[in-house]
């Protein structure tokens, strides 16, 4: 209760209430995320069940009954006869799952390495930051393609179906952790010099207690901003990777895979196969980006990168 009250009285909430952009973005993002989470309840069809598909529904126009089967789809049907609306809901689940998981993966690695290097200093710091530099040498899409290639070699054949998603998560996360580590390190170096840390040493807190109980909560604001923007980037990165053929499988497509498939129909008149997934992705990424933007201004941290 106290927390809630505090949240509502906070400057952040005040700034939120006075920013129409933030409110609209928040509503859009939350609506989309909820729609994805409750896709099985909301979607009229299950596009991931191949047995339920009727190929003859392929390329049905939105809201126009199919000439062969008589079925009608809100946003039309794609090349496999899948309901575009349902596919978007399910696809968004995958995109969001990949996005969130990749950001969490990057965040955990970044926070641990960033805090460690800031707190330990010296050689440990030098080594970690050098690894970060090397990591930066590999641009994100190359990292993803490398991880994809390597994982394919190591994954047993029967696990390959599940592999794609996890590889996406790991590869997007791997290319993303550096900025978390840098920001956390930068903020932690500032916090470390503050006297409350010395006070904590004096009362007998060990290094772990100091890092996680004291420093970590104080560096979370910039991390939150980056995490928000990273979420949008990760969702877009997933789409980009699927264009290069290392995305989610077409039988269980993500938004990115849907766009990759849909872009083949840009000239042929079946605009709905591309338009709806692309608009969904745009709304999702844009609203998350705008939220991140607002958050950055509202928290006004000096971001290092």
């Amino acid at each position: 209760m106290d927390m809630v009250k505090r949240a509502f009285e906070s400057d952040l909430f005040w700034s939120f209430r006075h920013s129409p952009v933030a409110i609209i973005s928040f509503v859009v993002a939350v609506t989309l995320i909820l729609a994805a989470v409750f896709a099985p309840l909301l979607a009229p069809y299950n596009p991931f069940d191949p047995g339920s598909l009727n190929l003859m529904n392929g390329f049905s126009q939105p809201m126009v009954p199919n000439a062969l089967t008589g079925d009608s789809f809100l946003m039309g049907a794609d090349d496999q006869g899948r309901d575009v609306f349902s596919t978007i809901l399910y696809g968004m689940r995958i995109s969001l799952f990949v996005g969130f998981a990749a950001v969490i993966f990057a965040l955990v690695i970044g926070i641990i390495l960033g805090l460690t290097s800031a707190y330990a200093g010296g050689r440990v710091e030098a080594i970690i930051m050098r690894i970060a530099d090397v990591q930066l040498t590999f641009p994100s899409i190359l990292v993803a393609m490398l991880v994809f290639g390597i994982a394919k070699g190591f994954t047993p054949v029967h696990l390959r179906d599940q592999m794609a998603i996890w590889v996406l998560i790991v590869s997007i996360g791997l290319s993303d952790w550096v900025q978390f580590a840098r920001v956390v390190r930068g903020a932690a170096l500032v916090e470390k010099k503050k006297e409350y840390v010395e006070a904590a040493i004096l009362i007998g807190r060990g290094p772990l207690g100091i890092v996680f109980r004291h420093i970590l909560p104080n560096v979370l604001s910039p991390v939150l901003v980056i995490a928000t923007i990273s979420l949008a980037l990760a969702i877009i990165a997933e789409a980009t990777l699927s264009f290069l053929g290392v995305g989610a499988p077409p039988t269980e497509p993500s938004l990115g895979t849907l766009i990759r498939i849909g872009q083949g129909y840009l000239f042929s008149g079946e605009w709905w196969i591309l338009f709806f997934p692309a608009m969904t992705l745009l709304m999702l990424a844009l609203s998350v980006n705008l939220l991140g933007d607002w958050l950055r201004d509202a928290l006004n941290p000096k971001l290092d990168d």
Binding site: Y196, A199, L202, I203
Partner: protein, 564 residues
């Protein structure tokens, strides 16, 4: 006609919680060749007046009423472009922190010449010549060489001279100096104040000197305006204000200033300042939790013995040890602290006094030397349990009330943490009770436990900091500049609190400060530090009356004093 005439100025800042009136109906004036001291505690609105005169109020602040006249001409309604020809040219401004007032990536010459050219129709070479002259006038040696350098190549005092040169470079009629010496050491402070005085007299400048430091005012100002919460409380000649203030606030403010010439027992209460809470309640220390820790022998011998202590910092790493560069923060110092006394360490910034505190507490490992605390070897002890025991006995109150509390923790958690970590309480319930008692003890009241640090003022935070330090039941409390960030009225309260606690809990104090009057009020014995050396240790009164070392003499000579 006054040089600057302010009539009924009102400055407002609309904000989330309504309109905040920063300056309320203030009228004052400055004459040529006169220094007007504008004094007040933080939040009094004294800096806002300067900014309002310059037309540099931070948005969304605005001057909603009143008028400002410069030589009879109204300047508060001028357009931004017209105002620009007044700024720098007719009114110069000096900022508080010389470290941040200069553009770090341009040379001094560039910044001077640019300002000269912006206002005067002179050639580039003339501007350069003038710039060198200015630097010479403000006392920068080898001006023609140093003018080519960047700000980071100058020391703090030299930078402030550059800032003054910049403010003076187009010969303005009025200078607004906003806390021009607050960031400087005592010895430098005196020089800069002298410089401002000289400039004022020799050039017939009007000066508004904004400061919180009564000592500075007493030494420098011709007249004084006292501000409190946006209002002008009292305006008069310096000697009148200092010696016979009319208003109650002024009286208490002056009373709160630690006198530099004599030792008093307690500071008088400041009437209008924030509530003091209640004074110490009468705890039965024998039965109270806090008292249980003080069941040790109060011997008359030394509680802490420091011998030949050294501390080096690595400032440039290298693979070969011979290429490494070190800074000697402490060079071979020795002193004792007797049980129950207050030992003072005084010195300017960079003298190593705070490092001594951190070495004693173990935050920094010593490079060499010996330290013994109540018979325990502080340097060579490997026994973790013994170390922790000693640690518990030595606690510290820090300088910065804002950074010394973790903003993400509630006060209750902050004060309870030492007991939790050291298992000093049976259970959570007992911890909460002790926290409540401690908060009462430092005059905050137990409700404070449920709040976060940002809900408290600086003085209240120092009280929390003290409560946290007490929560390990320490015997030895190090106070590292505990009041240097506080207003003078709050400082008096905190110093009183520390004195009371020492009496009640039989604490031994190591009191570190750059502020000589405060040292004189608080300490039994004092050590003077300079560049890592302990140049003199002596009884307090003896030190102030008969300083032996030449540095101590300089220090005490430069100390701003004002006679009551």
């Amino acid at each position: 006609m006054a040089l600057l005439d302010i009539k009924n100025m009102r400055v407002e800042f609309p904000g989330r919680h309504g309109v905040f009136t920063s300056v309320n109906d203030v009228s004052l004036y400055v004459n040529e060749g006169e220094i007007l001291g504008l004094v007040g505690e933080s939040g009094a609105g004294k800096s806002t007046i300067g900014n309002a005169v310059m037309g540099l109020l931070q948005a969304p602040g605005r001057m909603s009423e009143g008028e400002v006249r410069l030589n009879g001409e109204r300047i508060d309604q001028l357009s931004e472009i017209d105002m620009r020809s007044i700024r720098g040219k007719r009114i110069g401004m000096i900022f508080q922190d010389p470290m941040t007032s200069l553009n770090p990536i341009e040379t001094i010459e560039f910044q001077l010449v640019e300002t000269i050219l912006a206002h005067l129709d002179v050639s580039m070479s003339e501007a350069r010549k003038r710039a060198v002259e200015l630097l010479e006038q403000v006392g920068i040696p080898e001006a023609s060489v140093r003018i080519k350098q960047y700000p980071h190549q100058f020391s703090g005092g030299m930078r402030q001279r550059v800032v003054i040169a910049l403010a003076l470079c187009v010969e303005p009629e009025l200078i607004i100096a906003d806390e021009p010496t607050t960031a400087l050491d005592v010895t430098i402070q005196a020089q800069i104040l002298q410089l401002i005085k000289d400039m004022c007299k020799s050039r017939k400048l009007g000066v508004i000197l904004v400061t919180h430091d009564m000592g500075v005012i007493a030494e420098t100002a011709d007249r004084v305006a006292v501000m409190y919460r946006g209002r002008l409380i009292e305006l008069g000649d310096t000697s009148q204000i200092m010696n016979a203030p009319k208003e109650a606030y002024t009286q208490s403010l002056i009373a709160a200033v630690p006198p530099s010439n004599k030792k008093i027992d307690r500071f008088p209460k400041v009437a209008i300042a924030e509530s003091d809470g209640s004074a110490l309640q009468d705890f039965d220390l024998q039965s109270h939790w806090l008292g249980r820790g003080s069941a040790y022998e109060t011997s008359s011998g030394s509680l802490l013995e420091v011998r030949s202590l050294r501390k080096q910092f690595l400032i440039k790493g290298a693979i070969r040890p011979s290429n490494r560069k070190y800074l000697d923060a402490i060079k071979d110092i020795s002193f004792d602290v007797k049980a129950g006394e207050t030992f003072g360490l005084v010195g300017e910034s960079g003298s190593g006094k705070s490092t001594v505190a951190r070495v004693i507490t173990g935050i920094y490992p010593a490079t060499g030397g010996e330290m013994e605390f109540d018979g325990h070897d502080l340097i060579n002890t490997k026994n973790a349990k013994e170390k922790q025991q000693v640690r518990q006995d030595i606690q510290m109150v820090f300088q910065d009330p804002y950074s010394s509390l973790n903003g993400r923790m509630k006060i209750g958690a902050i004060v309870a943490e030492p007991m939790f970590v050291n298992k000093l309480a049976e259970n959570g319930k007992e911890r909460r009770e002790i926290v409540a008692d401690l908060l009462e003890l430092v005059g905050l009241g137990k409700d404070a436990a449920r709040k976060y640090p940002h809900e408290f003022s600086g003085g209240q935070r120092q009280r929390i900091s003290i409560a946290r330090a007490l929560a390990t039941r320490p015997r030895f409390l190090i106070c590292d500049e505990p009041t240097s960030a506080l207003d003078v009225s709050i400082q008096a309260q905190i110093l009183n609190l520390l004195k009371d606690l020492q009496d009640q809990l039989k604490l031994t104090l190591l009191f570190i400060s750059h502020d000589l009057p405060v040292i004189r009020q608080m300490c039994d014995r004092v050590g003077v530090m300079r560049f890592g050396d302990l140049v003199e240790v002596s009884e307090t009164e003896a030190l102030f009356e008969h300083p032996q070392h030449s540095y101590t003499q300089t220090l005490i000579g430069r100390m701003p004093r004002f006679a009551k």
